[in-house]
């Protein structure tokens, strides 16, 4: 009798947790049924079109060809994936860091803003593709020009959003800090930076995907490694399945970075903006 009760009690702890996990998984799946169905439908349609119209593989490979290419070239893909990942992530970090620091400076110094904002706009206005060869000439064929380009692409949206975010604190909140005789750095850390976070994350989500794009575009210019170089190589050699496989990997990388930023955002920004109740 007592045994039965004990086992019953022991199971109480783990079973609901397991059920909760399954529930959550099923929940995520069932919530996303339309998206999953649409994706599967598109892939099926693609496969059918390739079969029915007998499209040659070099022109447009079928999804099955792409899956085989992913399997057969796993080592090549991985070897070229890692540098691109590194460039995108380092570019993301440096580009955003510089943008955030510059935004903080702008908010505290009108002169700095007047002096450097036009330059920032000008740098943004230069097409990245035109900038890549220049940076390759300066920094050589290594990883540095790719990081710089990935960083530059992140830089501007974050700068603009961060300046706006740091200025978004309601005037009453700043009055409150003044009544408390708070210092500039206390106002920055306790009011301005927290109120800028929703703006910052909006920019970081854009930067997460565009940093991958920046790294890949940079690898197009005379690079011997990275997903960008692989794309060029596969195109010139008519290895379309490999080209498509590379594109899929690049897109997945961008999606994963975006997802990570989104998860961090939900952990960090748990409040609703002031005035929105």
């Amino acid at each position: 009798m007592s045994d039965v009760i004990q086992t019953g009690r022991r199971d109480m702890g783990s079973v609901p947790r397991k059920i909760a996990l399954i529930d959550a998984t099923v929940g995520v799946f069932s919530r996303n049924i339309p998206a999953i169905a649409a994706a599967v439908g598109c892939i099926l349609l693609w496969q059918l079109v390739v079969w029915i119209f007998k499209i040659p593989t070099f022109m447009a490979p079928s999804p099955i060809d792409v899956v085989f290419a992913l399997r057969d070239n796993a080592a090549t893909l991985m070897r070229n994936f890692l540098p691109t990942l590194l460039e995108a992530v380092l570019g993301f970090i440096f580009g955003n860091l510089v943008a955030i620091l510059l935004a903080i400076w702008f908010v505290h110094s009108k002169v700095a803003e007047k002096a450097f904002y036009p330059i920032a706009v000008f740098v943004k206005a230069i097409p990245i593709i035109a900038l890549a060869p220049i940076l390759v000439l300066i920094f050589g064929n290594g990883i540095t020009p790719k990081i710089i380009i990935a960083g530059l692409i992140c830089f501007f949206p974050t700068l603009v959003n961060m300046v706006q975010g740091l200025r978004s604190a309601p005037p009453a909140m700043l009055d409150l800090m003044r009544v408390l005789s708070a210092s500039q750095s206390e106002i920055l850390w306790k009011v301005r930076i927290p109120s800028s976070l929703p703006f910052l994350f909006a920019a970081l989500k854009i930067a997460a995907t565009s940093s991958v794009m920046g790294a890949i575009v940079a690898e197009w210019i005379g690079s011997s490694f990275g997903l960008g170089a692989l794309i060029i190589e596969a195109t010139y050699n008519f290895r379309s399945p490999l080209l498509y496989a590379t594109v899929v990997i690049a897109a997945l990388l961008a999606v994963v970075l975006f997802f990570i930023v989104s998860v961090v955002e939900t952990k960090v920004v748990r409040w609703k903006p002031a005035g929105q109740h």
């Binding site: 408390l180 005789s181 708070a182």
Partner: protein, 269 residues
């Protein structure tokens, strides 16, 4: 200007010192050409421990006068003395606390961390400050310490703001239409609680409102301002006994006071 005005005898018969002494105060905004006079030649003495409500038509500068005492507005002429010193020194000494119309809580901080904010900011000796938990209990928010502001109702948020203002044990509480955005039932309840708090702590309260009943119910004195430019219409004592309850608002005496205030207000227009 500070020391001299503090020693000046109170113009009111209470005999206590002055919390705020305003003398020939002018406030002008804007540059040449589009200059706007918010307050003109305002002189008023507020005795320590008094509850003064400030009433007047919109644009009469009652909020500006309050913000001037709080050192949030630049003085164009005349002087303001807060407990015998200038507004800036009084602010730096934390002689007063300010409650805004919007609760102005930091939305990313929990209730208790909002009340703690004055303890974290500024280089002040915080050993004599009140216990944030006790203050939250006093304003009826025990158990909600870890809630975020957006999880609270408007009335609850304003209670948190009041607890935050009281944490420094200010000698003067400046309140700028603190209950203006609340529904009437919540407002009545908070009015009663504010009176109780005032009687318990002895804090001087300057309270801006646009509600005649609220001004009469709370105020020991009513400072009536008139507009264009903002100036003092009348500084009058409200002859109603404390403690006051909400039921008092149905008495003839109370209605006489509000009727008088209303007629004064109409003269201002």
């Amino acid at each position: 200007m500070g020391a001299a005005s503090a020693k000046r005898p109170a113009s009111l018969p209470d005999g206590s010192g002055l919390a705020v002494a305003v003398s020939h105060l002018d406030i002008r905004f804007g540059g040449k050409g589009n200059e706007f006079t918010a307050l003109s030649d305002v002189t008023v003495d507020i005795p320590e421990g008094a509850f003064v409500t400030m009433l007047g038509p919109s644009g009469c500068g009652k909020s500006t006068l309050l913000r001037c005492v709080a050192d949030l507005v630049h003085i164009s002429g005349g002087s303001v003395s807060v407990l015998g010193r200038g507004p800036q020194q009084a602010r730096e000494a934390r002689d007063f606390a300010f409650v805004f119309q919007d609760a102005t809580l930091l939305p990313w901080r929990s209730v208790i961390d909002n009340v703690r904010l004055p303890l974290e900011v500024g280089k002040h000796d915080k050993s004599s400050y009140a216990d944030p938990y006790k203050l939250l209990e006093m304003v009826g928010l025990k158990g909600r310490e870890n809630a975020l502001p957006h999880e609270l109702s408007g009335g609850m948020r304003q209670r948190v703001a009041i607890a935050r203002a009281l944490v420094t044990r200010p000698r003067i509480l400046l309140m700028d239409e603190p209950f203006g955005a609340l529904d009437e039932i919540t407002r009545d309840k908070l009015n009663e609680e504010l009176l109780r708090l005032w009687q318990e702590t002895g804090t001087t309260i300057l309270f801006v409102t646009h509600s005649i009943p609220e001004a009469a119910f709370l105020g020991q004195y009513v400072l009536m301002l008139q507009a264009h430019p903002g100036r003092v219409k009348e500084f009058m004592k409200v002859d109603l006994p404390y403690p006051r309850s909400l039921a008092m608002r149905d008495t003839v005496e109370f209605i006489k006071v509000t009727a008088h205030l209303r007629s004064l207000l109409e003269e201002c227009l």
